[in-house]
C-alpha cells in the first residue's frame, strides 16, 4: 500500500540551515547535509530544501549544496525557492535534486509549468502555492505570503495540474506557525478536485495534527519544519503513532 509521507523542510541561506535547529548530536547545526542525513536515518520519507538566499552567489552555493546532499542522502528531495529560469531548473536537477518546486514564477508565467513538464517530466515539477483566506475566500499570495493576489487558490491549483504540475505543495498562511493543525478543509477540497498528490504545509504542532491532515485533509504528504528541528516531535515516534492509528506509514 502506498504510504503517506512525512517531509521535513529545511530553510537554506547561503548554503547554511537557518532557523534555530537544536540537535545536540549534530556537530554543525547549520550544515544542511548533516541534518538531511539525520532526518533520512530517522525515517523521513522525503526532504524539501527551501532556498531563501537572495543573491546570485548564494544561489551558486545552493547548487553545490544540492550535489552534496545527493551524494550523501538516499531518499528523494525537492529544492525550491527563487527558481526563475529553465536553466535554474536544469542545474538543480542535473546536480541531483529529484524534484524542483516553483511558486511566484509559475504565477507570473503559468506556461512555464507546461514547458518544465514537457522538458523534465511532470514527476519532478512541484507547484508550491501559499494562500490565505480573504473574506472567506482562499487567495494565492506571493513573496512568502506577504503579497496578496486576486487569484483563487482552487482555480490556480486546477490550472497547474492541467498544465503539467506533478504535485502540489500547499502552505496555508493562516495556519503556518500557529501549531494548531493544518488547513484540512481546504486540503480535502483540493484533494477531491485534482488527481495529483498534495503536500500539506503550515500548522503542524502535534502528532494528532499529522493524523488529521492525512485522514480529514486527505493529504498525501505532510511537511513541517520547526516541530522537527526543535525535536518537539521525533519522526520515529510520529510514524509509529500514525501507523498505530491505521495510517499507512513506512517504518
Amino acid at each position: 500500500m502506498l504510504t503517506k509521507r512525512i517531509v521535513p523542510c529545511l530553510d537554506i541561506k547561503d548554503g547554511r540551515t537557518v532557523k534555530g535547529v537544536n540537535f545536540v548530536n549534530l556537530r554543525d547545526a547549520g550544515d544542511p547535509v548533516e541534518l538531511a542525513a539525520i532526518y533520512s536515518e530517522q525515517g523521513a520519507d522525503e526532504l524539501v530544501f527551501l532556498d531563501i538566499t537572495a543573491t546570485g552567489d548564494g544561489r551558486k552555493t545552493t547548487a553545490e549544496l544540492v550535489e552534496k546532499v545527493a551524494e550523501k542522502v538516499n531518499i528523494p528531495f525537492t529544492v525550491g525557492g527563487g527558481i526563475k529560469s529553465v536553466e535554474d531548473v536544469y542545474t538543480l536537477l542535473h546536480r541531483g535534486a529529484d524534484k524542483i518546486s516553483i511558486n511566484s514564477w509559475a504565477v507570473k508565467e503559468p506556461k512555464v509549468l507546461d514547458e518544465l513538464a514537457a522538458q523534465f517530466g511532470s514527476q519532478c515539477v512541484v507547484l508550491a502555492v501559499d494562500a490565505k483566506q480573504i473574506d472567506g475566500n482562499w487567495k494565492v499570495h506571493l513573496v512568502g505570503g506577504k503579497v496578496p493576489t486576486e487569484i483563487d487558490l482552487f482555480d490556480w491549483v486546477r490550472e497547474a495540474e492541467s498544465r503539467g504540475a506533478g504535485e502540489i505543495l500547499f502552505t496555508s498562511m493562516d495556519h503556518d506557525g500557529s501549531k494548531a493543525g493544518f488547513a484540512n478543509e481546504a486540503l480535502a477540497k483540493m484533494s477531491d478536485m485534482v488527481n495529483i498528490p498534495i503536500i500539506a504545509s503550515g500548522g503542524a504542532g502535534s502528532i494528532q495534527d499529522f493524523a488529521d491532515t492525512f485522514v480529514h485533509g486527505k493529504a498525501d504528504a505532510a511537511l513541517a519544519a520547526s516541530v522537527f528541528h526543535f525535536k518537539e516531535i521525533e519522526i520515529p515516534t510520529l510514524k509509529q503513532e500514525l501507523k498505530s492509528q491505521g495510517i499507512a506509514m513506512r517504518i
Partner: protein, 195 residues
Amino acid sequence: MSKVVIIDYGAGNVRSVKFALERMGITPMLSRDAPEIQSADKIIFPGVGEASSSMKALENYGLIEVIQNAKQPFLGICLGMQMMCESSEENNTQGLGIFPLPVKLFAGGAVKVPHMGWNQIEALKTPIFNGLEEKEYMYFVHSYYVPDSEWTIAKASYPTPFSAALHKDNFYGCQFHPEKSGTFGQQILKNFIEM
C-alpha cells in the same frame, strides 16, 4: 574490480544512480559510447522522463542494438525498465522488446497519478532481492506500469497489481528507484553489482 557502466543518454537520474554506487565504494563510468558499454561487466540503464523522446535519444546514440544484444547483467530502472518492454501507451512508443510486455497508463480517478511515494514490494524472486524481506518499502514515481507477468520477480499494487521488477536471462528491471530507496534500495544495487 568489475567495470560498471551507467548508460548516459540524458536521463534525469544518472547522477543519483552514480552517487548511490559511490556510496558503496564503486566508481561507475557514465557513457553513451557503444564499445565502452559493451566492455562493461555490469550495465545500468537509468530512466526519468518521457518514453518516446528517450527511445529517440537511444536511437540517435546508436544504442538500441547494443542494449538488445547485451550479455552481461543489465539493470533498467523506472523508465529504463519500461523501455525494455515491447511497447508503451506513453505516446504509443515502440520499446526495446526485451520483455514481450505492454506498458500501460494507470487509470486516473480511482487513484492519483503519478503513483508517487513509498510502496511495498512482495513475491520476491531471484538473488537480486537477497537480504530483503517481503513487503519492504521502495520509492516509486511513475504514471505508467507493466502488468503482472511470468517475468515478474516482485509485485506491487496501486491498487492494480503491477510488476515492481522483471527478470529474463541477464536482464533485470525495476520500476522503483533503488538509488532513492534507502538502505534496502542500496542492498538491491549491491546484489546486482555482485552478480
